[in-house]
């Protein structure tokens, strides 16, 4: 429905301005389509009849809707076990990330913290120079973390870039609050736990999302640090499904003929199963996310 205000806005404008907006909108709609269509296509293929997919008839709508591929994916032990592992690594890893990042960001945000500049520089260097894969592997080996969950959750304990965003946010909090807390007898830990963190919900939510997505998508650390298959996260399974284009470990899939027909729908179902959990987190954190990113980005 066109509101009177909108109608006035359009009627007051020149044809050129109107055309510009129209072209702009068309271009942006095209960009939205290009961005969303691949995901949409994966969804409709995963819900379609494998035969229709194989014959190339699925373009814009699912055809011959069925959930056979999802049944197969969710019946597979490997997928279920790796899904559980991914949830565990993401939960534990993100919790560790938030604790460590907060503990690092808070002191660096305090202007009265001596050596702050040098420590900031020390952390910043890690953003540009890393030790490399072999030293990292040897450290994990020496610490006895190889083939344990801790290699996956502790190694990426702090992301320096995210930590700096947090520090920037903390710096924006009024120092008067800290001073008042000190006068009331609070120590640093109490100030952090009772004043700083509760007032930093937007940035905490943003970091939670950033870190959670990072953990959820991560497969490389699992590849190099884990040897026991039972500990593999979902992304390693997804990688072999997508990159190696096969999901033949599902031996109860039926005759070979069904397999050919169902291969693509199964592959896309696995992608949906591995993507949905993390996508579902976004709506709940949306309001904090936008706020946190804006605040973190504007103040340097």
């Amino acid at each position: 429905m066109v509101t009177p205000r909108l109608r006035t806005a359009f009627s007051d404008r020149s044809l050129g301005s109107y055309s510009f907006d129209l072209i702009n909108m068309a271009l942006l709609l095209a960009v939205i389509f290009i961005t969303l269509y691949p995901m949409y296509y994966i969804a409709i293929v995963s819900f379609s009849d494998g035969k229709e997919v194989l014959l190339g008839r699925v373009r814009f709508w699912p055809r011959g809707i069925n959930l056979q591929s999802y049944q197969m994916v969710l019946r597979d032990d490997t997928v279920i076990r790796s899904l559980f592992n991914s949830i565990l690594y993401t939960s534990v890893g993100t919790a560790i990330n938030l604790v460590l990042s907060t503990l690092c960001a808070y002191p660096l945000s305090r202007r009265d913290f001596s050596g702050r500049k040098w420590l900031t520089l020390y952390v910043a260097i890690t953003m540009f120079f890393q030790g490399g894969l072999i030293p990292l592997y040897l450290v994990v080996l020496q610490l006895g973390l190889l083939d344990t969950m801790w290699a996956i959750v502790l190694v990426p304990g702090i992301n320096a870039f995210y930590m700096f965003i947090m520090r920037t946010y903390f710096q924006g909090q009024p120092t008067a609050l800290h001073e008042a807390a000190i006068i009331d007898g609070a120590n640093d830990i109490q100030i952090l736990a009772r004043i700083v963190v509760p007032l930093a919900k937007p940035i905490m939510a943003t970091m939670l999302l950033f870190y959670a997505v990072q953990h959820w998508n991560s497969f490389f650390h699992a590849l190099i640090f884990l040897t026991e298959k039972a500990r593999y996260p979902l992304q390693l399974i997804l990688r072999s499904v997508v990159v190696e284009s096969t999901f033949e470990q599902m031996n109860d899939i039926g005759a070979a003929t069904d397999f050919m027909v169902l291969e693509k729908t199964i592959r896309f179902s696995v992608i949906m199963v591995s993507t949905l959990p993390i996508l579902l987190v976004y709506p709940f954190l949306q309001k904090y996310f936008v706020k946190g990113v804006m605040i973190g980005a504007l103040k340097g």
Partner: protein, 505 residues
């Protein structure tokens, strides 16, 4: 309140993680029992179950616990490079020849000549009986036990065509590459939306399969008629092959996406009827046939007999016998060299050989008139699987993709329908089928030189090949490219190969 709830949740997660990790720790081993780590790439169709009967049988027979590290095959190379770089190789690793060659000098692998000769004589007897196996040695030293076969039908990348469509249109099975072109062009005219000849793995794979049968092989390859190595891509005959594909591309006979098709897209095109011909592993033809029959009940892929090329000859390479370009390396710092040799020898004869290929007698196989046969009930168990033979071997722990040094491939043919048996017979009987020859062993200087030369020549030729076929590089320009490739060392590659081959012979 909310904060304490969060803290409790975090603590719970940390504790659950600790308990979970601790619960997976290995239990104490018996004094005479050893744990040997074994790493291999895991084929997606043949997942590895450490509790499979074969691994249990090894435990019982030799008191060896195999701790299996199955790495997804797509990422195996990255993991191997890391482990070799940090000298953290497991006791036994299934590696490719190139991976072993690159690190042979580093001391990370146990030289195997003497241990195998002395402690695994049955295995040595197999290796000694295969002349090409010695080509895998580095400067005379065996750093890995090549994987060999005790029985295998000859398999080949061959041309496969939709015979049902030829019958429908009254077309003959092509007998030469010119006839093939005409046939595919006729199919294209009849089915304008089709992309008759499709390819996976890009130009490299197209030429690797088809160029030698067309008269001049791609890159460095063995020419049986001349008994020498030839770098085919820079020979004048090769240009005619490229022109053939250039025309095929222009006429729509060759898939327009030939250079970028993934394996998955390739499968889809052939299984859906979009493409009608391929030059690759013949056994895929069965899957496509079965898939196509859902929409065309008489659909049928069929092998085209080796065709005559423009030089008037017929030639095709089969896949090699044995899997000599990969095998089992032993870490030099392993504490269990003697037990590994004991295991290797057990796997090379008697019970070990049977168990690692067939499973447990009475449980998975029996003897019929002295011949070993899989039990019918075992075969029935996997008959409904997508890939029954791999499902069976994965579940029992047998064969090529599990842990077998000398592989008996007979179990894989149980599920073949009669058509596929006919295809094998056709390949086996074809006098124009040649076994590929493994490159000779090179000395250190040659290896280094070859590495550089091959990189230089590939960098010049490969981009031009695509360009020439799709028409963005002219014939004159391609002559220049070939000249540059020769100057960069294409002929020197030939010389090094032939010198090394002569030395070996």
């Amino acid at each position: 309140m909310r904060l304490s709830f969060l803290a409790a949740g975090l603590a719970l997660l940390l504790v659950s993680g600790t308990v979970w990790a601790a619960g997976e720790e290995e239990g104490a081993a018996a004094s005479d029992r050893v744990t040997i780590t074994y790493m291999r790439p895991e084929h997606p169709s043949s997942p590895i179950d450490p509790q499979a009967p074969v691994y249990e049988a090894i435990r019982e027979a030799l008191n060896i616990d195999l701790q299996i590290e199955a790495i997804p095959s797509g990422d195996f190379n990255a993991k191997v490079q890391l482990l070799l770089g940090t000298a953290q190789l497991p006791d036994i690793a299934r590696l490719r020849q190139q991976q072993v060659n690159d690190f042979a000098d580093s001391g990370v692998f146990l030289p195997l000549n003497d241990p195998v000769k002395n402690q695994a004589p049955d295995l040595w007897a197999y290796i000694d009986a295969i002349p090409d196996a010695k080509k895998t040695f580095v400067d005379g030293t065996m750093y890995y036990v090549p994987q060999m076969d005790s029985f295998q039908k000859l398999l080949a990348p061959i041309p496969m065509i939709r015979r049902d469509l030829l019958d429908d249109l009254g077309l003959e099975m092509p007998d030469s590459f010119d006839e093939l072109y005409e046939t595919l062009a006729a199919l294209k005219r009849e089915f304008p939306d089709s992309q008759p000849w499709t390819v996976r793995g890009g130009t490299r794979n197209l030429l690797n399969r088809a160029a030698f049968p067309m008269g001049m092989g791609w890159s460095i390859h063995w020419v049986p008629s001349e008994q020498r190595w030839v770098y085919g891509t820079v020979k004048p005959e090769f240009k005619a092959i490229l022109e053939y594909f250039r025309d095929a591309y222009a006429d729509g006979v060759l898939d327009p996406d030939f250079a970028i098709n993934s394996s998955s897209q390739w499968h889809e095109k052939l299984g859906s009827g979009k493409s009608l011909f391929y030059y690759d592993n013949m056994t895929f033809g069965l899957n496509y046939t079965l898939s196509l029959r859902q929409v065309k009940p008489d659909a049928l892929f069929w092998p085209v007999p080796v065709m005559e090329n423009s030089l008037g000859t017929r030639q095709n390479f089969s896949y090699p016998r044995h899997w000599l370009s990969g095998g089992f390396a032993v870490a030099s710092d392993s504490k269990h060299h003697d037990r590994i040799m004991e295991l290797f020898n057990w796997m090379a004869h008697g019970d070990g050989l049977l168990i690692t290929n067939w499973g447990i007698e009475g449980e998975h196989w029996h003897r019929v008139n002295g011949e070993i046969e899989a039990l019918p009930e075992v075969l029935d168990t996997y008959r409904g699987a997508s890939d029954p033979q791999r499902a069976m071997r994965s579940s029992i722990g047998t064969g090529l993709l599990q842990f077998s040094l000398i592989v008996d491939q007979k179990p894989i043919y149980y599920y073949d329908p009669p058509e596929v048996s006919d295809w094998y017979a056709q390949v086996q009987a074809d006098p124009n089928m040649h076994l590929p020859v493994l490159p000779p062993p090179f000395n250190e200087e040659e290896r280094e030189r070859l590495k550089r030369l091959i990189t230089d020549v590939d960098n010049i030729l490969n981009p031009a090949l695509d360009g020439f076929i799709v028409g963005t590089v002219s014939l004159d320009e391609f002559d220049n490219v070939m000249k540059q490739a020769i100057e960069a060392g294409a002929e020197e590659i030939e010389e090094i190969y032939n010198a090394a081959e002569a030395r070996l012979r």
